[in-house]
Amino acid sequence: MQQNNPQEIRKPSRLVGAWWGPAVGLTGIGLVSAVEIERTSDATREVFFNVDQPWAVYLFLSILTGLLVYGIGRHLTLWALGRPVPGLRQQLGHRLRNAVRLGLAQDKVRRDRYAGIMHWCIFSSIVVLTFVTAQVAIADDLSIHFLEGQYYLFFSFYGDLFGLIGVVGVGMALYRRYFDSYHRIRWDERLEDHAILWGLALVLLTGFAVEAFRINATELDQQPDWARWSFVSWGVASGLDLFDLSESQLLSAHVWGWWSHIVIAFGWLGLIVFTKLDHIFFAPTNAFLLRTDSPGRLTKIENIEEREVFGVGQIQDFTWKQLFELDACVRCGRCSSVCPANLSGQPLSPMHLIQDLKSHLATVGPELQRVGHQNGDVRAVSPVAMVGDVIKDETLWACRTCGACVQECPVMIEHVPTIVDMRRYLVMDEARVPATAQAALENMEVRGHPWRGTALTRDSWMEGFDDVPYFDGTQEYLYWVGCSGSLVERNLPITKSVFRLLRESGASFGVMGQEETCNGDPARRLGNEYLYQILAQQLVDTFKEKNVQKVITNCPHCFNTFKNEYPQFDGHFEVLHHTEFLAKALKDGDLQARHQVTASEMTYHDSCYLGRINGQYDAPRQIIEFLPGTSLTEMKRSRSRGLCCGAGGGNMWQEEIGERRVNHVRSEEAVGTGADSVVSNCPFCIQMFEDGLPAVHPEEEGRMRAFDIAELLEQSVFGPEGGSRATSEVAEAIQ
């Protein structure tokens, strides 16, 4: 295989990797400074030079502290409305690492390179300048004279350097906010966004101005060797010379500048209490609170039969972590910019969903607090229903549970569990379900599979094979075909391919045939947790009865629920997706991919539940590497940035509402690579492409083909005549 656009393969960046740039630069500067500092050893300046009542600063500081306490208190009373969060005290080490990696080091922020640099500039500038200011305060309060000599010069230097870095960051932010009209950060723009940005700009600029006035008045001519260390202000101060200001003018400008700087700086810090600037504290905290288990696992409702309310229909039914998250949102729009529903003009924007819930909490929260939330009923204090009025039903149904929003969120909000909680309310408490989803749910309940009206049975794919082994507990693997692999016409060839490849590899395996039944995944995603628990528990019991230890699945959704969710039902199995098994078989030499396949230029579509949610990006690509005479062109959205095919979260069985269908959008992206085939690993994705490709390319001639990777590997292993999906038919179509 040949990789056509290797730059598209981006590994998730690591902590070390992202910091080496600034670190090398700063070390270099530090070395030069160390040598240079040797030359001057008596430098210093008067702290609070030219300022009469510096104690006023402490007044501001007390006001600010008071405001912060008030702000946090106000938030706390609202968060306290939520239910307890289970498992918070577990995995503390992991949580602390998250707080450092995702909070302080801002791993997620850097997923957008421009924003990453911008945010790093502003963040580091604020941290260093706060440190600078703190040193001034310590020097004054405790009368410790350490801002002297070599350190004073170094202090002047890094203060100016990080001031400049801050100006660069603010400049980048200004550009993004005012010159990029359609930027995602403007999708929900508010006054506070401007205030925060301009406030910070003014703090930095007045800071430099004050320093420049002081330097011009006291150092520029008197101690030029010292002055140069404050290189930015020194430059400005030198420029001030052109205006030929008198000393008194300079001094009065300095005093005015100094007080404006202080007032603006404290005013800006005060914004933490009232604006999204609170993410300074909330983002690292939310990183600490972030789940430590797989994002592919939804919470289990314990003792479901004894409950009276099943989903979340009122704001106080969320956990306090879910309420806390609402306040962490900074409206950056990353979630919505990657949401498949939003990209297709469908009625869901994760950012607006979070913001709407936040406003709802702010509206009804205080009143709920007053009436006593434990027995509180939002309906008594508010005429609007959270689910239905604040968050529309169709918004909740549009979610694919693909996890792209969760993946991108720089403040670690987990949208998917919140959405599913509200779906649970719709389905179990209100029984308000779109007709098509209802049909799928009823079908799972009555017939044990979601495919209403299928004419196939779970044995249909076995036609033509007389040697399909049934699992009897003696084989190593259970090959789990799944409902889609056996009851949907298009997927039968995939099942046959996987079967033949497993057989060829010499693996010891068996199938369950008619004994298979839905594992419940679609029910859980659609919000019917009760049905899910029944189906899951049944299957866990069956697996145990049959002595199943290892499972190979066709479908990433079965894979995910077996792997990540069945442990909630005491079902612990080793679960492999077929791509993982086949990649290993190829590497071990158990399978030989010798023959040319009917696809030559491919693009690979990461299914959400194998890729983003379970992190398996490589095994399928490794299989493609084994296919002779093929090349791979990655789509722009690939790997962890992959776009959902549109079927996730039960949307396989729903009517789409909106401007476009998600699978048409994704098919366009696939076609855009110029490849002749799109390869994937999921029966839903394949079905979505089979539907989407003709829509974006109506003529049959030259149309892109959709394959499961197992189908191509089968061709390559058994030769052109050996394919299950009448390979000859495919070959003809391509010729």
Binding site: E305, M428, A431, Q438, L441, R447, T457, Q514, Y530
Partner: protein
């Protein structure tokens, strides 16, 4: 207002053709393995019609009756979960193997036993045999008026206003209560039960009545009371033969095809 819904449990009409088998010797359908029987879809709509009337009135009682085997409990529970108040199962070997007449006879007896019934709702037909006669038979037995194939039914004081589906439109009829209505799919989708209701339904006990409870004559019910005799039950055989036309060129193949079709007197 006391409304009765008659619900039948049938073999799943969505059984894949490959899994559908009959026993020609016994003239019986062999239950498909692993495919559970379901509530006849039209009966779910009959339940929906009754529940809408109860909801609109703000009070009343809906009783669901099923004649069948013990497994029919599931069909009754499903209607209870939708919102019905009580369930009655007519289950006894004597009830089995009946036709539309003997089934209607038993059901009518059960309705009489309930006493204060204002209206009976049935599906327009059971989706297994598609006879469409039980509802009418019940009305005949009870001497009540009946409106069949309804898309809407509204209680209006002492009468029932029913919109009936005709081949070329609708017809609205008004009949005095008590009455029987058979409901068609045009009524709309039956409701999806709330989980709370499913759990309540699971806790409800279903009353079981046998022939003695109803006071019916054993010769009038089940197989004994049947007036219809099933002569032969069989699966039609379908098949296809493919003959490929010989020929060097498409034109020759087309000629051969034309000739073959003419020989077969198709063209």
């Amino acid at each position: 207002m006391h409304l009765v819904v008659c619900a039948k449990q049938i073999p799943d009409p969505e059984t894949p053709p490959a899994a559908f088998r009959i026993d020609s010797a016994k003239n019986e359908v062999i239950p498909a393995q692993g495919i559970a029987p379901v509530l006849s879809p039209f009966d779910a709509q009959a339940a929906e019609a009754a529940l809408r009337i109860k909801e609109k009135a703000g009070d009343g009682k809906v009783t669901v009756i099923s004649l069948g085997q013990e497994s029919a409990q599931a069909a009754i529970k499903q209607v209870l979960a939708m919102g019905a108040d009580e369930g009655v199962l007519l289950s006894d070997d004597a009830f089995q193997g009946g036709d539309s007449y003997s089934t209607a006879h038993a059901l009518a007896a059960a309705i009489k036993k309930l006493g204060d019934v204002d209206a009976v709702f049935c599906g327009r037909q059971a989706a297994d045999w598609d006879m469409g006669q039980v509802g009418i038979g019940i009305a005949e037995e009870l001497g009540w008026p009946v409106a069949i194939i309804a898309k809407d039914a509204q209680a209006d004081g002492g009468s029932m206003v029913v919109q009936r589906v005709l081949a070329d439109g609708f017809e609205t009829v008004k009949m005095p209560l008590p009455a029987v209505v058979t409901v068609s799919n045009e009524l709309g989708d039956p409701r999806y039960p709330k989980l709370q209701q499913i759990m309540q339904a699971a806790r409800k006990t279903v009353t079981t009545w046998g022939p003695a409870d109803l006071g019916v004559d054993a010769s009038e019910i089940g197989a004994a009371g049947s007036r219809l005799k099933l002569e032969k039950l069989f699966q039609p055989e379908s098949g296809a033969e493919v003959e490929l036309m010989e020929g060097e060129t498409p034109a020759e193949q087309a000629q051969a095809l034309a000739k073959a079709l003419r020989d077969a007197k198709i063209i």
